[in-house]
């Protein structure tokens, strides 16, 4: 009887040790890889950028467009003075110079998010006149490049390609 109890308790101990090791290793593996998925992450607290696809789809190639986005502090400390830049430009690299818009979020508590709204002009699409064959015969798409940067140098980026 004592022998059976010993083996059962031993097996339970081994199970607990193994499960603990699994949990420990799982935590080790997941926390850093989330950061690595972000190509611009330079270390430290992470920020995420959430875009509303329906709102993106409703953007028109006209002046006075607006876009609300959410900046999420995924780290364990409050973030201050987070810069959010929007670069608007055409797929056609000759057509126009990029336009830059910038906003600063003063504070984002740990684990919370802040909403940022941009008012901007989308460049007018070019007139589809006859062009030399070295130029794109298709109407160019417009591109929004949104970058969130913390004072510590951490950043995340989203590139939105709008259909013509």
């Amino acid at each position: 009887m004592r022998d059976v109890v010993f083996w059962l308790s031993g097996a339970a101990l081994a199970f607990l040790l193994t499960a603990g090791a699994f949990l420990f290793l799982a935590n080790l593996a997941t926390a850093p890889s989330e950061k690595r998925l972000n190509p611009d992450q330079a270390g430290g607290e992470s920020v995420d950028l959430i875009l509303d696809r329906e709102r993106l789809a409703s953007l028109k190639s006209l002046p006075d467009q607006s876009l609300a986005l959410v900046v999420e502090n995924q780290g364990g400390e409050q973030l201050s003075n987070v810069n959010v830049t929007l670069r608007v430009f055409s797929e056609n690299t000759v057509l126009s110079n990029p336009r830059y818009y910038r906003q600063t979020v003063e504070k984002i508590p740990a684990g919370e998010a802040a909403r940022v709204r941009f008012e901007f002009d989308l460049p007018a699409r070019e007139d589809p006149v006859a062009r030399p064959r070295t130029e794109n015969p298709e109407p160019s798409r417009e591109i929004l490049e949104i970058r969130v940067t913390t004072p510590e140098g951490n950043s995340t980026v989203r590139t939105v390609i709008l259909p013509p």
């Binding site: 004592r2 022998d3 010993f6 031993g10 097996a11 101990l13 081994a14 040790l17 193994t18 090791a21 699994f22 290793l25 799982a26 080790l28 593996a29 850093p32 890889s33 690595r36 998925l37 972000n38 190509p39 611009d40 875009l51 696809r53 993106l56 789809a57 953007l59 430009f89 055409s90 797929e91 056609n92 690299t93 000759v94 057509l95 006859a130 062009r131 030399p132 064959r133 070295t134 130029e135 794109n136 798409r141 591109i143 490049e145 970058r147 995340t156 980026v157 989203r158 590139t159 939105v160 390609i161 709008l162 259909p163």
Partner: protein, 403 residues
């Protein structure tokens, strides 16, 4: 009943087992980070097959890839201006300003590009292109105009060959040295406008695609003997047929892409149905190129540096995707280099180029554009499939490519 020693032994065995189990999971610690694609740093497979290497990234309409003589750089146009870059890094070097519209460029040495284009982007016939020279060791944006009214350029044996307009209805050929000096100006005129040309395998002759005086279509093939300075018409297309791109010379035949100019687009809205034809170098009526299949829809062709293979961009039939093929004209054997179904390979007549070694081909391709906004987690200038970009596709040596 267990002795104290037995108890200790069993606890030790269980502990070791637990450690082994835990240690077996420790490989998760070696998780490899997911880095963004670095176009020139290594091979990527964007759907064009294993071993494909991206040679550009980011927005812009790329066209006319041209390998440097040594094969370590590649020049191309982006939205009409000329850039080049090493094949193993991303340091883009600009050769013309954004208001310059380049039609073509050719390397004349490792540090000199000859550029055909116009400084003002009119894109109209009445504003003919000029030939410019740009040197890497000077300010490349300062172009030196070396010839006016140039309709086409192409590499010769150690020289650049240019087709010059002579009045409204005639053309002539000229050989030019790397320094821009004229080496030979041929007195014999060619009736019509030379739209494009390429050399024979021995480099002594050139095959020209010519637009006859007063016509709208390029419909005649000429052969010009560069030693004797004499030309002759090889064939002419009937009716509404036109020659697309640059005719190519391999073996004893001249190959070209042609079709009816006003062919209505097929049902899926893609390009007209052009085919590959060939004529003997002595002249005669064009015949469908053997080996490609009667349903093949051609877009562009280019002969390999050894003159023995033809790279083709086209579709096996009107409903199949566009891919890169290599044709061995002697064996009449067509080999599919790519079996892509997701990428749109660009079908411009000058949008493919053999590497100088003849073991790879540069093409331009992109993923199918979406009708919905696309969101990427990469900066725009690092994106590949979202825009037309250059890819180097290995085709193997002559024996590999033709099996």
């Amino acid at each position: 009943m267990l002795s104290r020693a037995g108890l200790v032994k069993r606890v030790a065995v269980l502990s070791v087992a637990a450690v082994f189990v835990a240690a077996g999971c420790a490989h998760a610690d070696k998780d490899v980070s997911i880095e963004p694609l670095v176009p020139a740093a290594g091979r990527v497979d964007p759907g064009l097959g294993p071993g494909t290497r991206a040679l550009s990234s980011g927005p812009g309409y790329k066209a006319s890839p041209r390998w440097s003589p040594g094969g370590d750089r590649i020049a191309f146009t982006i939205d009409g201006y000329v850039v080049d870059r090493p094949t193993d890094s991303e340091e883009l070097r600009r050769w013309t300003t954004r208001d310059f519209i380049a039609e073509d460029s050719e390397w004349i040495s490792e540090d000199t590009l000859m550029i055909l284009g116009a400084a003002s982007p009119s894109g109209k016939e009445e504003n003919p292109n000029s030939l410019y020279r740009a040197r890497a060791d000077e300010n490349p944006l300062e172009l030196e105009q070396v010839e006016k009214e140039v309709s086409a350029i192409g590499p010769g044996r150690g020289v650049l060959i240019s087709a010059l307009g002579r009045g409204a209805f005639e053309s002539g050929l000229a050989l030019m040295r790397g320094n821009g000096d004229l080496r030979r100006l041929y007195s014999e005129s060619i009736k019509g406008r030379v739209a494009s040309f390429s050399l024979s395998p021995d480099g002594d002759e050139a095959v020209l695609a010519v637009r006859p005086p007063g016509d709208l279509e390029v419909s005649r093939l000429h052969v010009f003997d560069l030693r004797k300075g004499e030309g002759r018409e090889i064939t002419r297309l009937d009716g509404n047929q036109e020659i697309i791109g640059t005719p190519q010379w391999t073996g004893q035949h001249l190959y070209f892409v042609a079709g009816e100019k006003n062919t209505p687009v097929d049902r899926d809205g893609s390009e007209p149905l052009y085919e590959i034809y060939r004529v003997p170098e002595e002249g005669g009526a064009p015949e469908a190129a053997p080996g490609v299949g009667e349903d093949f829809v051609a877009a562009s062709i280019r002969v390999s540096p050894d003159g023995e293979r033809l790279a083709l961009i086209g579709r096996l039939n009107p409903k199949s995707p566009t891919n890169l093929y290599v044709l061995d004209p002697l064996a009449k054997d067509l080999t599919a280099v790519t079996t892509n179904e997701d990428m749109e390979i660009k079908t411009g007549p000058d949008d493919l180029a053999w590497s100088p070694e003849g073991d790879s081909v540069a093409v331009i391709a992109r993923g199918t554009p979406s009708t919905e906004p696309e969101v990427r987690v990469t900066p725009a200038d690092r994106l590949l499939e979202d825009f037309y970009n250059l890819y180097e596709i290995p085709v193997g040596g002559p024996k590999e490519a033709t099996r």
